[in-house]
């Protein structure tokens, strides 16, 4: 049994966490914490409830929509249903749609997904390709860092036990940008990714000017793979460039063999999904993909539609 601490401000929460290091744990939606508690992976004496912290909630567009701030307590379901993000950060919404079930997404938060440090988690790859920064609050104040620096290993982040993830900030170029998130699973829903990939491209005319490729579930932490992205920059994202990005991503990851797939299989799938995600991101960036329509999880359209 654990007691629950609830407070109205970030400072109070941080102070409480600092005063109860090692015996307290933030709880957001609880969809990871409650499972971990039941399985004996965590034994908190105190659960520190974040649901009443207004400052952590909400999706806010700034600078005329060029920047979006996503509070860490934002529910995955809110991301999924946000029409603006659907158009401008398609990968994020695609990933949100695939996470758990409607019930889970209604509870689960983006902050919880990142802070749990699960290598296969859905949120890191799309946020990484959208160049997210994260804002962290601790006893000595606030700091901002690139999201890629948050992850420390399976189930671990760099946050101190008395630090909170406050929000994420993404830049959203208003045109010529497209992104996509794809994943391989055993079932088509309610499953964790065996491989998750996200790609984003910025396109000027018909040339890729910027690209990012991120991978989940194929290394101890989510990866941003610059070599793969570089294979896309300067190209018109032809099949050769997409395939090359896939090959480089496969070479850069370090998957394991477990009950949900072998190491070599996962590498192959990384190559396939990166190639597909890059192509879909390109179609979106160039306006050739219907706005707001998500890609199927594996990036293959049912053959009638194709």
């Amino acid at each position: 049994m654990a007691e629950v601490f609830a407070a109205g401000s970030i400072e109070e929460v941080v102070a409480f966490l600092a005063g109860h290091r090692g015996v307290s744990l933030p709880i957001a939606g609880g969809t990871d914490v409650m499972v971990d508690k039941r399985n004996g992976r965590v034994h908190p004496e105190w659960l520190v409830d974040l649901t009443s912290l207004e400052a952590l909630a909400g999706i806010e567009f700034r600078e005329g929509g060029k920047v979006v701030r996503i509070g860490s307590m934002t529910r995955i379901r809110s991301l999924e249903l946000d029409p603006v993000l659907g158009r401008r950060a398609a990968a994020l919404v695609e990933a949100a749609r695939l996470l758990g079930s409607v019930q889970i997404r209604t509870m689960a938060t983006v902050g919880g997904n990142l802070c749990h440090g699960t290598p296969s988690a859905e949120m890191p790859p799309p946020l990484l390709v959208h160049d997210a920064d994260c804002e962290v609050a601790g006893p000595s104040g606030r700091r901002v860092m690139p999201l890629v620096d948050l992850f420390a290993g399976p189930g671990r982040t760099v946050l101190e036990p008395d630090e909170l993830l406050v929000a994420l900030e993404l830049r959203l170029p208003d045109s010529g940008v497209g992104s996509c998130y794809l994943r391989q699973t055993v079932r088509w829903s309610m499953d964790l990714a065996g491989v998750g990939v996200a790609a984003a491209v910025e396109v000027d005319g018909s040339t890729v000017t910027k690209a990012r490729v991120a991978l989940g579930a194929v290394a101890p932490v989510p990866l941003l793979v610059a070599e793969a992205a570089n294979a896309l920059v300067g190209t018109e994202l032809d099949a050769g460039a997409a395939a090359e990005a896939g090959r480089r991503a496969a070479a850069a990851c370090s998957p394991i063999t477990d009950a949900r797939g072998t190491e070599s299989y996962r590498r192959q799938v990384v190559a396939v999904l990166v190639e597909r995600a890059a192509r879909i991101a390109w179609l979106r960036a160039t306006g050739s993909w219907p706005a707001g329509v998500p890609a199927p999880a594996n990036g293959v359209l049912p053959s009638e539609v194709r």
Partner: protein, 811 residues
């Protein structure tokens, strides 16, 4: 093979009045008076238990409360194979709140199970990870768990064997070394021969040969096993257990624990799903009773989800090496199966899955010659139970893939090959199965037509799409595996006019209550809502084998119909006096007896019952029946007609395979089932849709992944049951052949729909990719590897002939 007659008795009136109805039964002569104009049969009646279930009012075992109830918990083996050197429970016994700690050293227990090779609490050895070693009853769950951690068990870890082929080798560690009568790890051997396979092979124009394997899968009821046991001060035991076979349960409980079975009441509370997992008694049942006995208090034992996966019975992996041969015209000549069944640490009824698998090898389509050589191996894993389909999905996966391989080799359409060889009414298969009603050809034609088979199969590979078919045969009129395959029924009408059916059959969520009530309502001419079904208590209900083998509608339905007819006749006898009209000129509709020629002369049934009861020399309206289908136990050569009817059906699956990831998407599933008669079409559709979903899970995702004997992720997430997103629109066609023996012509449909799904999906994957799946579930990495290699990499595995034909008997 004439059906034996006189299996059915209509019992004497319980109040001693004159016997009604016939005590002779020719197996066919059900009164057909109302067959043409049904009032209730064939209507879409919502399940009677549905409102309580969806509003949370249903009482499951876990909802029971009683004064002084303790919570039980089991200590399970962490080792796959180990000798128990010693067990020290003294510290656990000292823990405040603990009321009993039991282990083999302080209880009286005898071996149980089909081969009597199992003890509720293991004494000398543990044989799989999850085997029961000790148990605690305490005032609450936390205390019980804490006490478990204080029990010290000293194990000597032994080499273990997990692969059934390795287990059958001479050098393998012997799992039941305490039993000199068991040779090595060969727990059972099934050898069957019909005709001359070798001679037939010389005549075959085409022979196909291959290996087909299935995984360890679980029934996964959403309600885990929950058992409550309580002794009253006089020593009478009451057990609440969600078991299907309550009467056998009582007997086995008594035999194992040395109790007097006359002093045991078994009550089946509402069951939150079983799918065969709760069919018969298991260690946890005995343990709950032992805890109640040792603590002197009522005890509840509720398995956790993890225990439900690691500590209960599973669907056994079965490995087939199969050959099928045909002549140039496509007439099947022979089937030849070498089979190894991986049945785990002990022999429950799961060791008999081959009984059903064998029917499919010998009798699916007309096959004049067949041979089966099957070894059932002990391995250090969870052991086989009687999961829905019972050996048949595994066999059908081999047999029906080979039909399409054979057709391709012959240059024939697989549907034409199937139709050419389809079983027909009047056939007696070489194994002695008497095929009476049979809609197989119609089922094949329907799914062929609906799926666009002739235009589309073999044309969509460029789009990675494919169609695949599979049909099945399954017992649908009981299955005589026990001395009786019968079920009793009592119908009574008291002064209120309410009709009560007391049936031996159990409700598991499959809808038997509703179907039996419909049968009684139809037979008596009353509305469905004036029938109450009582079915849960061994003190009250008449004997029944139990729910298995898709037998309830057929067997319990016939019994209920007979009792209802007899009760109706009594009422008509009295009504005849009251209306001064011969009974033969009366009819009953909507609960009212009327003169057929002049319906204005009528009397309500409740009044008839009262007029019969409330007079001098009156009597209650009560009739009993016992129906045992006219079938035979199979002989030592496995010949004999074990079921009074056989269910047939055919499915076509359409898949799209992603060659990049190996992910398979099931796009469509067309099904056609010969159900004899759809007593309640909505129930039939529900059984078929649910069964199909279960089959889809088997085909694509469900598996207990086991490393070194340990189920690595015993949770609902990793196990891989399909979700709604994984299950496509399932088209259900009900083919009504009106079985001559079934109640109103109905046959069993409970297990049917999952059986052909893995085979149909595999055939569709083969059509889409050109690569033939050799095993299921077809998880993405396997499919990808097969596609990349251009073939399924599954190595050919064949069973060695056993050195000695001895080892377990085959019952």
């Amino acid at each position: 093979m004439a059906p034996s007659c006189c299996q059915v008795r209509v019992g004497p009136d319980l109040n001693g009045a004159a016997e009604v109805g016939s005590d002779r039964w020719d197996g066919r002569a059900m009164p057909a008076s109302q067959v043409d104009e049904f009032q209730v049969i064939g209507k879409r009646v919502a399940k009677l238990d549905a409102p309580a279930k969806v509003t949370g009012r249903t009482v499951y075992a876990d909802d029971l409360s009683m004064a002084g109830l303790l919570e039980g918990a089991i200590l399970r083996s962490p080792h796959a194979h180990a000798r128990i050197r010693s067990i020290d429970v003294s510290a656990a016994e000292q823990l405040p709140g603990v009321r009993a700690v039991i282990y083999a050293g302080n209880v009286t227990q005898r071996p149980f199970g089909y081969s009597h090779d199992n003890l509720p609490l293991k004494r000398d050895k543990v044989r799989f990870i999850g085997d029961e070693v000790a148990a605690v009853a305490a005032i609450d769950e936390e205390t019980a768990k804490a006490a478990l951690s204080m029990i010290k068990v000293d194990y000597e870890v032994l080499p273990a064997v997990f692969d059934p082929f390795e287990a059958l080798e001479e050098t393998a560690p012997v799992i039941h070394d305490e039993r000199p009568d068991i040779v090595g790890n060969l727990s059972m051997r099934w050898d069957y021969d019909a005709g001359d396979v070798d001679e037939a092979a010389t005549r075959a124009a085409v022979v196909v040969e291959g290996d087909y394997s299935s995984p360890q899968a679980a029934p996964v009821p959403i309600e885990t096993h929950v058992i409550v046991a309580s002794f009253d001060p006089d020593g009478h035991l009451t057990v609440w257990s969600p078991v299907h076979m309550v009467f056998m349960y009582r007997k086995e409980l008594a035999d194992c624990l040395g109790l007097d079975w006359r002093h045991i009441t078994v009550i089946q509370p509402s069951v939150g799903g079983s799918f065969g997992g709760k069919i018969d008694i298991d260690s946890h049942d005995f343990i709950t009773v032992l805890l109640a006995r040792h603590s002197g208090r009522p005890v509840r034992l509720a398995l956790s989800r993890e225990e439900e996966f690691t500590g209960t019975r599973t669907r056994q992996p079965i490995h087939f090496h199969l050959r099928t041969g045909a002549d140039a015209e496509g007439n099947l000549l022979f089937r030849d199966a070498e089979v190894v069944s991986d049945n785990g640490a002990y022999n429950a009824w799961g060791s008999h899955a081959m009984l059903v698998a064998m029917n499919t090898v010998t009798s699916m389509y007309r096959v004049p010659n067949s041979r089966v050589r099957c070894s059932v191996a002990y391995t250090n894993k969870n052991y086989g139970g009687s999961v829905r389909g019972f050996g048949n999905p595994q066999a059908t996966f081999a047999v029906e893939q080979q039909m399409e391989e054979l057709a391709d080799a012959l240059g024939m359409d697989p549907m034409d090959l199937r139709l050419r060889n389809a079983n027909q009414s009047g056939d007696v298969t070489p194994q002695g199965l008497e095929i009476t009603s049979c809609g197989l050809s119609d089922c094949l034609r329907i799914v062929r037509e609906q799926s666009g088979w002739d235009q589309r199969r073999g044309t969509m590979r460029g789009r990675h799409r494919g169609l695949g078919a599979a049909a099945f045969i399954h017992v649908g009129g009981g299955a005589r595996i026990y001395a009786s395959d019968g079920c009793g029924a009592v119908v009574k009408v008291d002064d209120s006019g309410e009709v009560t059916l007391i049936t031996g059959a159990s409700e598991l969520g499959q809808g038997s209550e509703t179907v039996l009530a419909m049968i009684v309502a139809e037979e008596m001419g009353i509305p469905i809502d004036s029938v109450r079904v009582v079915n849960s208590n061994t003190d009250v209900k008449p004997w029944d084998v139990g729910v298995h083998a898709s037998r309830t509608t057929f067997v319990a339905g016939n019994a209920a119909r007979m009792a209802a007819a007899a009760a109706r006749d009594k009422l008509l006898e009295t009504a005849s006096e009251l209306l001064e009209t011969p009974a033969g000129e009366l009819r009953v509709r909507d609960g009212v007896v009327e003169v057929a020629a002049d319906p204005s002369r009528r009397i309500e049934l409740g009044r008839v019952a009262r007029r019969r009861l409330l007079r001098e020399g009156g009597g209650v309206v009560m009739a009993t029946a016992f129906y045992d289908p006219p079938t035979h136990n199979q002989d030592k050569d496995y010949r004999g007609n074990i079921s009074a009817a056989y269910g047939f059906g055919a499915h076509v699956a359409e898949v799209e395979v992603d060659p990049g990831t190996g992910m398979v998407r099931l796009i469509n599933l067309w099904t056609a089932h010969d159900v004899g008669r759809a007593i309640n079409p909505m129930s039939c559709e529900g059984q078929i849709e649910g069964g199909a979903a279960m089959g889809i899970g088997l085909a694509l995702s469900e598996e207990l992944v086991i490393f070194d004997g340990e189920i690595v992720a015993p949770n609902l997430h990793d196990y891989g049951m399909p979700t709604a997103v994984d299950v496509p629109r399932t088209v259900v066609n009900l083919v009504e052949t009106v079985d001559p023996l079934g109640p109103f012509g109905a046959k069993g449909v409970g297990e049917a729909a999952l059986i052909p799904v893995p085979a149909a999906v595999a055939n569709a994957v083969a059509d889409a990719t050109g690569v033939r799946p050799r095993e299921y579930p077809m998880r993405p990495w396997k499919v990808k590897a097969w596609i990349d290699a251009g073939e399924s990499s599954h190595a050919s595995r064949r069973a060695a002939e056993p050195a000695d034909k001895g080892g377990g008997d085959n019952g």
